[in-house]
C-alpha cells in the first residue's frame, strides 16, 4: 500500500468470499453496493469534485481499490434518506453538504480538489478542530459530513476486510464467542 492507500489490506481476509453463506436478501444488497456504484445525481459536478477529494482526505484513500464514498452519500441525499434530526441552528443536512463544498473551495483559495495534499489535509484538520470561521457552526457541520462519510465507508466489504469484520452473519451466526475465539472460517491473525 502507498501510505494508507488502497482499502482492504492488512488482515488477509475477503468478506465477499463468504457471500454464499449469507441470506439472499443481504447478499443482493451488499453485492449491489459493491458492483453497482450509484451515479452522482444530487451534487453538481463541481460540488462532487470538491467533496470527493474531501471524502478521500477524511478516509485517507489515495490508491486503488477505493470506496466511492461520495457516490453513496449522494444517493442518500438524492433519495432524502437523512438521519432524523437537525440542530436548530443548522440548515438541512443536504444544504450542509453543499455549503461545506463551497467553504472548502474558499479555504483552498479556489479549488479544494486541485489543492496540494498537504493543504487539503491542513484544511481538513482545521475543520475537524472547529477552527474555521464559516457562516454555519463548523463543529456540527463536521459531525454531519463525517457521519455521512463513515456510514458509507464502513458499509463496504473492502473496509470490513481491513478491520477484520466478517460482514453479514445470517443464517450462520457464531459459536466461538470467547476471548481470542475464532470460527474456522474467520479471518486469521
Amino acid at each position: 500500500m502507498s501510505g494508507q492507500g488502497a482499502v482492504g489490506g492488512g488482515q488477509g481476509w475477503d468478506a465477499l468470499s463468504q457471500a454464499s453463506h449469507w441470506d439472499a436478501k443481504t447478499r443482493e444488497l451488499v453485492l449491489d453496493r459493491v458492483h453497482n456504484v450509484p451515479p452522482i445525481r444530487f451534487f453538481t459536478a463541481e460540488e462532487a469534485r470538491t467533496l470527493r477529494a474531501f471524502c478521500d482526505v477524511v478516509t485517507a484513500q489515495d490508491g486503488e481499490p477505493r470506496i466511492e464514498v461520495l457516490n453513496y452519500v449522494d444517493e442518500k441525499m438524492f433519495e432524502g434518506r437523512l438521519d432524523g434530526f437537525q440542530y436548530a441552528d443548522m440548515p438541512d443536512d443536504r444544504d450542509v453538504w453543499r455549503q461545506v463544498a463551497r467553504h472548502l473551495d474558499d479555504e483552498a483559495g479556489g479549488s479544494y480538489a486541485d489543492a496540494a495534499p498537504e493543504l487539503q489535509r491542513a484544511i481538513c484538520s482545521l475543520f475537524a478542530d472547529g477552527r474555521l470561521d464559516w457562516e454555519l457552526p463548523v463543529d456540527k457541520a463536521w459531525k454531519v459530513v463525517t457521519r455521512g462519510i463513515l456510514s458509507c465507508f464502513y458499509a463496504h466489504p473492502y473496509a470490513w476486510n481491513e478491520i477484520g469484520f466478517p460482514g453479514p452473519a445470517y443464517p450462520r451466526g457464531y459459536s466461538a464467542l470467547g476471548v481470542d475465539g475464532r470460527e474456522q472460517w474467520e479471518p486469521k491473525e
Binding site: F85, A128, L150, P171, R172, Y174, R182
Partner: protein, 551 residues
C-alpha cells in the same frame, strides 16, 4: 414456560419469520366505530392491542411504518437497516440537544423494539416515588407493586433471559443467561477487580427454543432487526396473538389528527394518511402510543375550538418533562482479540449504582451495560476522539481488540425539556417536532461520576487505551401521568384529564425513568391498562366494551 394468555410464539411459523395470517387479518371499515383505535404499534400499542383483542374488544392499530417481514425486509447489514428508524426530521435544540433517529426512534410494526439492543430490566420500586423519597423528580400515581405482576407476565412472553437479579425488587428470569462473549468478559473482569457486581442479562432474547421461535445464533445484529426471531419485539411477541383474536394492524398509515366533537368534548376517531389519501377511522375511544416525540406532536397538531393549543393541552402539560438517559460510552483496547461483533451487544450489566448514595453528591444513579457497536457505530467512537484520515483507518483496523461499556444515567424530569411544533411541515403537511433538551446540575454530576466508574472498570481490566464518547439513549415522558390536570396529561389509568375517551399508552406517560431501559416498563404499563379497561376499573362502564373506554 408458556405465557398464560399469549400464544404469539406458537402462532409463528417455524420455517418463516414473517407473521402468519397477515393476509387473513380481520379488516374494519373506516365507518365502523371500533371499540379502541390505537396509534402506533410498538411496545405500548402492540401489547394493548393484544390484551384487548383477546378479551373481545374490536381493535384497530394505525402504524406509520410497514408491516415488517424479517425474511423479506431485513438484512444482516448495518447500513442496510436504515428503514427501521424513524428518520423524519426533528429539530433539536436547547443547551444539550438530543440526537434522534437510529438511536432512539423506530417505525413499522414492532416499533423501536425491532432495533432496541434487547435489555429488558424492570424499574426499581424507588423510581415510582423519587419526590417523596429524595425530593427530586416526581412521584407516580401508581407504584411498582401495581406493575409487578405485569412485569412477571411480560418476562415470560418476551421471554427474558438472565441470572437471578439482586437489585431493585430481586427476581428470577424465565430463561437462563446467555453465554458471554470475549468483549463482555473483559468488562466483567474489570468490574470484579474493583468490587463492582455485574450479572448476565436481562435480555429479551430466547435462550433455547420458545414456541416456534428459535434459539439466538449470536450473530450480533440485534440493533439491525432480528432476522432470527430470537430477540423480542411486539411484531413477534404480541401482534400474532392480537391478529388471531381479530385485531387489525393497519400499516403504512400515518395519524395526523385526533378528531374531537367540540360540543361533547369527546374524541371521535383519527384522521390518517394511507396511500397518499386522507382517511378517517371512527372509534369509541383512542389510545395514542406514538412514543415520546410523536405522541405529543400528534396531540399538539390536533387543535380545535375546545383545545386551541392542542388536544388535552389546556394546562400546557403536553410535551413537557421529556427525558433521556445520559448514555456516554467508554471503549477500551486489549491485547487479545475480542471480536465484539459476536454475541448480542447486550450481555452483562450492573445496577449497583442505581439508587441514590448521598456520598456521591447527587441524587439517583445509573446502570452499567455492555454495548458492542458494529463497524459504523464504532467509527463514530473513533472520530469522536479526533481521529480522521490515516489515523482513523489505523484505529479502525484495530476493531477486534476493543470492548465498549455504556451507562444509563437517570436524568431528572424538567418542565422545559419538551416537545413543541416547529414551523417546518413534513411530507404530510404536518409540522415537524422540535425537541429542546438541557441538563440540570444533578444530571451533569451523575454523568461525570458514572464516566469515572466506567474508566475505573477499564483500568482494572488492564485496558491499554480508553476512548470516551458522550451521547444519550432512550426517550420517556412528554405526556406524563400524575395527580391532577395541572401537573400532568393523564391520570393513573392513562386517561387524559381533559378528554374522557382519550388514552396515552406509551413511554411518554412515565414521570421518571430510573436507570433502566424503558421497553419492559412501557409494555407492563400497557398490560396493566388493558386489564383495568377491560374490568371497567378505569372508569365505571355500563357493560359494553365501548362504554368502558368511553368513560
Amino acid at each position: 414456560m408458556k405465557p398464560r394468555a399469549n400464544d404469539s410464539a406458537f402462532l409463528l411459523d417455524p420455517h418463516r419469520r414473517g407473521v402468519p395470517g397477515v393476509e387473513r387479518m380481520r379488516r374494519y371499515r373506516d365507518e365502523d366505530e371500533v371499540d379502541l383505535l390505537i396509534v402506533g404499534c410498538g411496545a405500548g400499542g402492540g401489547v394493548l392491542a393484544q390484551r384487548l383483542a383477546r378479551r373481545g374488544w374490536r381493535v384497530v392499530v394505525l402504524e406509520e411504518g410497514p408491516f415488517w417481514d424479517p425474511d423479506r425486509d431485513w438484512v444482516s447489514d448495518e447500513a442496510g437497516s436504515h428503514a427501521l428508524y424513524w428518520t423524519r426530521k426533528r429539530i433539536i435544540g436547547g443547551g444539550d440537544p438530543v440526537e434522534m433517529g437510529k438511536n432512539n426512534s423506530g417505525r413499522g410494526v414492532g416499533g423501536s423494539m425491532t432495533h432496541f439492543a434487547g435489555y429488558a430490566p424492570r424499574f426499581h420500586p424507588s423510581d415510582f416515588e423519587t419526590k417523596t423519597r429524595e425530593g427530586v423528580g416526581a412521584d407516580w400515581p401508581i407504584s411498582y407493586w401495581d406493575l409487578k405482576e405485569h412485569y412477571e407476565e411480560l418476562e415470560r412472553e418476551l421471554p427474558v433471559a438472565g441470572q437471578h437479579w439482586p437489585w431493585g425488587d430481586p427476581h428470577r428470569y424465565p430463561h437462563g443467561p446467555h453465554p458471554v462473549g470475549g468483549a463482555a468478559e473483559c468488562a466483567w473482569r474489570g468490574a470484579r477487580n474493583c468490587g463492582i457486581e455485574m450479572r448476565m442479562g436481562p435480555v429479551a432474547i430466547t435462550n433455547g427454543q420458545f414456541g416456534n421461535r428459535p434459539h439466538c445464533i449470536y450473530r450480533g445484529f440485534c440493533l439491525e432487526g432480528c432476522k432470527v426471531n430470537a430477540k423480542a419485539s411486539p411484531l413477534i411477541t404480541h401482534v400474532p396473538d392480537a391478529l388471531e383474536h381479530g385485531a387489525e394492524v393497519r400499516a403504512d398509515s400515518m395519524a395526523v389528527r385526533v378528531e374531537i366533537d367540540d360540543s361533547s368534548g369527546r374524541v371521535t376517531g383519527v384522521t390518517y394518511i394511507h396511500d397518499g389519501r386522507e382517511r378517517f377511522q371512527r372509534a369509541a375511544a383512542v389510545a395514542v402510543a406514538g412514543y415520546s416525540i410523536e405522541t405529543p406532536r400528534l396531540l399538539l397538531n390536533s387543535t380545535s375550538a375546545r383545545f386551541p393549543n392542542g388536544l388535552a393541552n389546556n394546562n400546557d402539560q403536553v410535551g413537557r418533562y421529556l427525558m433521556v438517559q445520559g448514555a456516554s460510552q467508554l471503549a477500551a483496547r486489549f491485547p487479545e482479540k475480542l471480536r465484539m461483533y459476536k454475541a448480542p451487544p447486550p450481555e452483562v450489566s450492573s445496577e449497583q449504582f442505581y439508587e441514590t448514595d448521598e456520598s456521591r453528591g447527587f441524587a439517583r444513579g445509573f446502570s452499567i451495560q455492555t454495548v458492542s457497536p458494529l463497524p459504523i457505530g464504532w467509527a463514530e467512537h473513533v472520530i469522536a476522539e479526533g481521529h480522521w484520515g490515516a489515523d482513523l483507518r489505523r484505529h479502525m483496523a484495530d476493531y477486534n481488540h476493543w470492548s465498549v461499556l455504556g451507562m444509563l444515567c437517570e436524568l431528572l424530569p424538567l418542565p422545559d425539556n419538551r416537545v413543541t411544533l416547529a414551523d417546518e411541515p413534513d411530507d404530510y403537511g404536518m409540522p415537524v417536532a422540535r425537541v429542546d433538551y438541557t441538563q440540570c446540575d444533578n444530571d451533569r454530576a451523575n454523568i461525570a461520576y458514572a464516566k469515572r466508574v466506567l474508566r475505573e472498570i477499564w483500568e482494572n481490566a488492564g485496558a491499554e487505551e480508553i476512548f470516551s464518547i458522550d451521547r444519550y439513549a432512550h426517550l420517556v415522558g412528554g405526556c406524563r401521568m400524575g395527580f391532577s390536570p395541572e401537573d400532568s396529561v393523564v391520570d393513573a389509568d392513562h386517561r387524559a384529564w381533559e378528554v374522557p375517551n382519550l388514552f396515552i399508552t406509551d413511554g411518554s406517560v412515565c414521570p421518571t425513568q430510573g436507570s433502566a431501559n424503558p421497553a419492559l416498563t412501557i409494555m407492563a404499563l400497557a398490560s396493566r391498562l388493558a386489564e383495568r379497561l377491560d374490568s371497567g376499573r378505569a372508569r365505571a362502564g355500563n357493560g359494553s366494551f365501548a362504554a368502558v373506554a368511553r368513560g
